[in-house]
């Protein structure tokens, strides 16, 4: 069983769409289950290094180690959940195609092992994201998609430049080969390449000051798509950037700079959310903030902190899927996503879910987010970065301010619209909330997985 099947299966399913265009929800579910099975089979043989077409160092490389397994697992899990969620919707070829290519692209990003492959999946994921933004085919959607494409093209150019420079100087495109030879380059060239990668990936990873486009895109895209963006897209690019970084082994100053960038992202995003008036944008700012924390934690280059970062990524994915999908229900019921709409619906179930989501993102026990934050803080304190812990805690207060202000609107729901949620959706949303509670109370196994993934992650790329 080849690693390629994880990418080939979804693409095949997409190409064969015309044959079952009326039964796409079932196909989507079967596909997710198939991918989960394949991943399970492959998981026991990690680390796997696969060369396609040519032997090293010319060929196209795919890796699967504990770190990429973690991310692939999260993405396939989300894919499965989304397939279950859309089971009762009517068969929509456009949505199916774009969504499946999106997941294929994300999986490809996580599995790629050479620059060529990386660039291709970079673009595939981006293109499917552009299409997802415009899915509703309204003016806002197209405006957002256009804006996204402009910024995305800038990112592509930076990445292309970086790839070209690497090849011109090193002569190889495969990550193991590059990792071995990067340190031998003159310092200025190293810096330029790192800078190009930082800007290119910074845009896609949504780090300040390269993330000024994100809030608009989240506003333009359909609310449920925002859940996918938040949970999958930014995380895939985050993984890839740090995979590259850990492989290239830069100087400690670089790590410190990246940590500061992550902290700045967190601060700016949370402050912006404080006076937001549009719920989708507020959730977008929250995502940017959490990405900043994850970026900060990954840049610390410390095993405990990185395992905390991975746990954070996993729990944040669950929490944001929950929040955005719940928000989509509110949007449909009240017709608005302004902050005022948050007080205008009546549904104890959704109130509970929003509470769980907010508390988890804030990192408040007994939810999963707390375990993530605690692991990160524990590691940072042990590594001597105590002032960063304080800075993150201080900014978290800002986060708490706007989340709890939203919750206080829930306590007072006069002239509210009762919302009816189909039982299937209730079960699925409830399972996410339950997941957050269970991971918070019994994090043992999950933390163990994250620790192993972190070890593999920090070790760089598997060598031939």
């Amino acid at each position: 069983m080849s690693l390629l099947s994880l990418i080939a299966l979804p693409l095949l399913a997409v190409f064969l769409t015309p044959f079952y265009r009326n039964r796409l929800p079932i196909v989507s579910l079967l596909l997710s289950l198939a991918l989960a099975t394949v991943l399970g089979i492959l998981a026991v043989r990690i680390p796997i290094v696969e060369y396609v077409s040519f032997a090293s160092p010319l060929g196209i490389v795919f890796f699967l180690d504990a770190a990429s397994l973690f991310f692939a697992g999260v993405f396939i899990g989300i894919m499965l959940w989304t397939a279950l969620y859309t089971l009762q919707h009517k068969s929509d070829p456009a949505c199916f195609v774009v969504r499946t290519v999106f997941f294929a692209g994300a999986l490809g990003l996580v599995l790629s092992g050479d620059l060529f492959n990386l660039y291709i999946f970079f673009e595939i994921a981006s293109i499917s994201a552009y299409l997802l933004t415009a899915l509703r085919q309204d003016q806002k959607g197209y405006a957002g998609a256009i804006k996204y494409m402009i910024i995305g093209s800038v990112a592509s150019i930076f990445l292309l430049l970086a790839a070209m420079l690497i090849y011109l100087n090193i002569g190889y495109l495969t990550l193991p080969a590059i990792a071995e030879r990067f340190a031998t380059l003159p310092r200025d060239t190293q810096y330029l390449i790192l800078l190009l990668l930082f800007v290119g990936f910074g845009i896609k990873t949504e780090i300040f000051p390269f993330n000024l486009w994100v809030a608009d895109i989240y506003q333009a895209a359909p609310t449920r798509v925002d859940g996918l963006f938040s949970a999958v897209l930014s995380k895939a690019y985050l993984f890839l950037f740090f995979r590259l970084l850990y492989a290239l082994r830069p100087e400690p100053d670089v790590y410190m700079f990246l940590m500061l960038t992550g902290l700045a992202s967190f601060a700016v995003a949370e402050f912006s959310a404080l006076t937001g008036r549009d719920l989708k944008r507020i959730f977008a700012y929250s995502t940017l903030g959490q990405i900043g924390v994850a970026f900060l934690a990954l840049a610390s280059h410390d095993p405990v902190v990185v395992s905390g970062a991975l746990f954070l990524i996993g729990t944040h994915a669950i929490a944001k899927m929950l929040l955005f999908f719940a928000l989509a229900i509110v949007e449909k019921g009240t017709g608005s996503v302004r902050v005022e709409a948050f007080g205008r619906f009546r549904s104890p179930f959704l109130t509970g879910l929003f509470t769980l989501g907010f508390l988890s993102v804030l990192g408040i026990p007994p939810l999963a987010g707390f375990i993530a934050k605690w692991t990160v803080f524990k590691g940072l304190a042990a590594a001597g970065h105590l002032w960063i812990v304080f800075a993150v805690l201080l900014i978290s207060l800002i986060e708490a301010t706007y989340f709890f202000r939203l919750l206080s609107l829930r306590a007072r729901s006069e002239k509210s619209v009762p919302l009816t949620i189909p039982p299937g959706h209730k079960v699925l949303l409830g399972s996410l909330g339950l997941g957050l509670i269970l991971l918070g109370l019994f994090p043992g196994t999950a933390l163990e997985l994250c620790t192993r993934a972190a070890e593999a992650f920090l070790a760089g790329v598997p060598h031939v």
Partner: protein
């Protein structure tokens, strides 16, 4: 991941919690909050029985947010925001301290934490963070901003829980941190000295603000702050007797506030009013409630006969033994003020003449309201008669946190070699005098003339017009603002300080938010500019 230990300290605090919750169950409460109350009680169990700092933190946080939702039943958004932001700030400070402890001592389990090897600088940091958490939770100035609104604007019965139990969480944390974990040689003396003074300054400020209040619940809220201030002051002295005094006062204060808040809740329930200017003269209609409140304020003010005196006595003794004369003087000054607000509480509601608003007939108070009050009053009376009975159990708590036990002087005697008193003797003496005066009163009673109606006060040389407000005693305390220092305290509010911070954050937010709405092209400009700047920085 989480570990628990059933220690005497935990038993004491959790026992008090169960007492408070259990007695309130008998009073009416909305059914839909049962889950939240259960969650809150469970979180208190986790907090008090934790055997490691992370478990303690989990309990602390769950307590915080479950209280939020209970307060949210009635409170408005600004109150809620103040509550949660301050409490989370304290919680985050605590988390920072725990992370630092983990890094310095290598563990978060109580058993394995040893501060011997930790450098003084780190210990100081940990202490400061822990103190911030304690100050915020206990409402020490300047962090008291959230307390009064949260206590006064939540459901009446939940205010009892807030004041009786949740305010003690800070005390508990202090004992865990500064008696159990960081033992004597490593404690920074200057910080503890600062804490002692902050505690008593808070008491003074809160006491005078309490006298100035018109709403009963707000008065009690300030009173709670003041009482917790006393406890923190005496705890900061750090010794066996001071811990004993603090624990005793914790027990007494819990019972007193339970009694008083439920009493007020009953009055609000039947009259619909909670302000002194709209009450008055309720003594005739609600006699049992009146008697219970009198018992409550006797204990609150620390007058001999009830348990309130016991704890005050221990407190003063502890301060004297530690040679803290100035602190003692300040505490006494604050206690003197406490007499004033205690009297205002009972006068404004029960004595004097009823105001127009309180004239209409009121139903009888539902009997459920009496259970918590009788329980509290009963225990307080018991403590008054047999003050020394509590000493052996408190000693087990002392030993469990590593302090030396206090020598018990017998069931009816309380104190130590320095000074002691016998509760039984006081009761006998008081009883005799009381009976004597009572019999004289009954003998003379028939000689007085009963007035025909409430406007018949010609014997005071006044003939008020109909409709005049006769309950002017509720304005008691207004004249205090003419005294220099006290007037300054009363005129200034924490709002002006914290409000400025809030406005600052708001303005920064609006500024930064504009960045996120710029066009794609301008974003591209910014990206290219950032790239160029970073490139330039390295090249040169």
């Amino acid at each position: 991941m989480f570990s628990f230990a059933f220690t005497p300290l935990g038993h004491l605090f959790f026992g008090l919690s169960v007492l408070v919750f259990g007695s309130l169950v008998w009073v009416e409460h909305p059914r839909k909050d049962r889950m939240l109350y259960a969650l809150l009680l469970m979180s208190l169990g986790v907090l008090f029985y934790a055997a490691d700092l992370v478990t303690l933190f989990v309990g602390w946080e769950i307590m915080g947010w479950s209280s939020y939702f209970l307060i949210a039943r009635r409170a408005d958004t600004p109150t809620l925001q103040k509550y949660i932001v301050f409490n989370l700030a304290g919680a985050f400070a605590l988390l920072g301290a725990i992370a630092l402890i983990d890094a310095s001592c290598g563990s978060i389990a109580y058993e394995r934490i040893d501060f011997a090897a930790v450098p003084a600088r780190e210990t100081t940091f940990i202490v400061i963070l822990g103190l911030v958490a304690i100050f915020i939770k206990s409402g020490i100035v300047p962090f008291h901003y959230w307390v009064v609104d949260a206590y006064s604007r939540s459901d009446d019965l939940f205010s009892a829980i807030l004041s009786a139990i949740l305010s003690k969480a800070g005390i508990f944390l202090f004992i865990v941190l500064f008696f159990r974990l960081i033992t004597a040689p490593h404690l920074p003396a200057s910080l503890l000295g600062l804490t002692a003074w902050l505690g008593v300054i808070t008491s003074i400020i809160a006491t005078f603000k309490a006298i100035d209040q018109d709403e009963a619940k707000r008065l009690l809220a300030y009173s709670s702050i003041a009482q917790i201030g006393y406890i923190l002051t005496v705890l900061s002295v750090v010794g066996s007797l001071s811990l004993e005094a603090a624990l005793y006062h914790t027990v007494v204060h819990t019972l007193v506030k339970l009694l008083l808040f439920v009493n007020i809740a009953a009055i609000i329930r039947v009259t619909g009013e909670g302000a002194f200017s709209r009450l008055g003269g309720q003594m005739e209609r609600h006699r049992l409630n009146f008697v219970l409140m009198v018992l409550g304020i006797i204990a609150l003010a620390g007058i001999p006969l009830l348990g309130g005196f016991n704890s005050k006595f221990l407190l003063y003794t502890a301060l004297l033994e530690a040679h803290q004369g100035f602190l003692l003087a300040a505490v006494m000054f604050s206690s003197a003020g406490a007499f004033l607000y205690s009297y205002k509480l009972v006068y404004g509601i029960y004595l004097g003449q009823p105001t127009q608003a309180a004239l209409s007939p009121t139903p009888a108070i539902p009997s459920g309201y009496y259970l918590p009050q009788l329980l509290g009053a009963g225990i307080l009376i018991g403590l008054g008669i047999a003050p020394g009975a509590v000493v052996p159990p408190l000693n087990t708590v002392l030993v469990s946190v590593g302090a030396a036990p206090i020598a018990p002087l017998g069931t009816f005697t309380l104190g130590d070699t320095f000074a002691a008193f016998n509760g039984g003797v006081i009761w006998i003496a008081f009883g005799a005098i009381f009976l004597a005066i009572l019999s004289v009163y009954f003998l003379l009673k028939n000689r007085s003339v009963a007035p025909k109606d409430r406007y018949d006060i010609s014997y005071s040389g006044e003939i008020p017009p109909p409709g005049a407000n006769l309950h002017y005693g509720y304005g008691m305390g207004r004249e205090l603002s003419r005294i220099g220092g006290i007037g300054w305290i009363l005129r200034h509010h924490a709002h002006s300080f914290w409000g400025r911070i809030e406005t600052l954050a708001h303005d920064i937010s609006i500024l930064l938010r504009r960045l996120y709405a710029i066009s794609a092209q301008n974003s591209a400009w910014l990206i290219i500019a950032a790239f160029t700047i970073l490139l330039y920085l390295e090249v040169y």
